[in-house]
Symmetry: C2
Subunit: 172 residues, 2 copies
């Protein structure tokens, strides 16, 4: 894939601050290139850009209120994550062959019905109700076949894996 | 594994309602047998039990304020998920060999240092800051080698995977 962006729909700054922040941080940590919200939220922008600034990597933050247009005009493929979709385990080998740009669409509570029609794929990570944060994590882990867990971000701060301690290394 | 429980530490009913609900639903959907909170929260209990009631499966909800004792006396193995831990990709084959009961410990913001010492394993899903919901999902997906995505829950409601529609089947 050339570029992977995550579009978070139905974000309500009053309610979804922490969940949308988690969506953004998971997108970054597991290999996406940026997140796009459908509504401005300077607090979330700040927390995500702040993590990316300290821990490294290129990760973009954008806002697009005209999200229908964004999906329809996306030059590449679009995957909508939903518990109503097709099983990820049956689609993942096809999805891994995508060489184009990829837009992953994540709703918050209820997603307008038209999203199901305009997305190229509706994909379910289990057909059980759980969490868009978890669905995104498993989709990315499987799309990249686990390789993004090895990624180095070359940031100012780096955590050194440890059996019992919390070790943070600062760049010289 | 005989039984897998998730212990959610540092839950604050005022702030963490939705994130902890996501933790519980992910635990259920991806193969754990129950969640234990370190503080009572009847609203979360109700939402998780409600989903389990409608969508099926056995999933327990518990509260244990003396969580240190719970971890120390756990008859089985304990895994603490933390971005400071050892890489999951290096530990997972060892973790899959656990035949005992398993307790997965998830913090919210800051986790007391002693948790790192009393847990059998400190495991990181990337050494980047992201989300305990995502870390739990990937740990369970890898522990079960994807098999829980095939699980049938035999509930009153069942979602039929679909390319474009939302199909919910009710039990006769």
């Amino acid at each position: 894939m050339k570029e992977v962006k995550v579009l978070r729909l139905g974000h309500r700054p009053s309610r979804d601050k922490r969940l949308t922040t988690h969506v953004g941080l998971v997108a970054r940590a597991l290999g996406a290139d940026g997140i796009i919200l459908d509504e401005k939220d300077p607090k979330i922008e700040k927390s995500i850009i702040d993590v990316a600034g300290r821990f490294g990597g290129d990760f973009s933050f954008g806002v697009e209120e005209k999200w229908r247009k964004l999906i329809k005009n996306w030059s590449g493929k679009t995957i909508h994550l939903s518990m109503y979709g097709q099983k990820i385990q049956e689609l993942e080998s096809e999805l891994r062959k995508i060489t184009d740009r990829l837009l992953i669409i994540l709703g918050s509570e209820k997603v307008p019905g038209e999203v199901y029609e305009i997305a190229d794929y509706n994909v379910a990570v289990t057909n059980q109700p759980h969490s868009e944060v978890a669905a995104l994590a498993i989709l990315l882990d499987r799309l990249y076949e686990g390789k993004k867990l090895e990624e180095e971000f070359d940031g100012e701060l780096k955590i050194i894996p440890s059996e019992e301690d919390k070790i943070v290394k600062e760049k010289d």
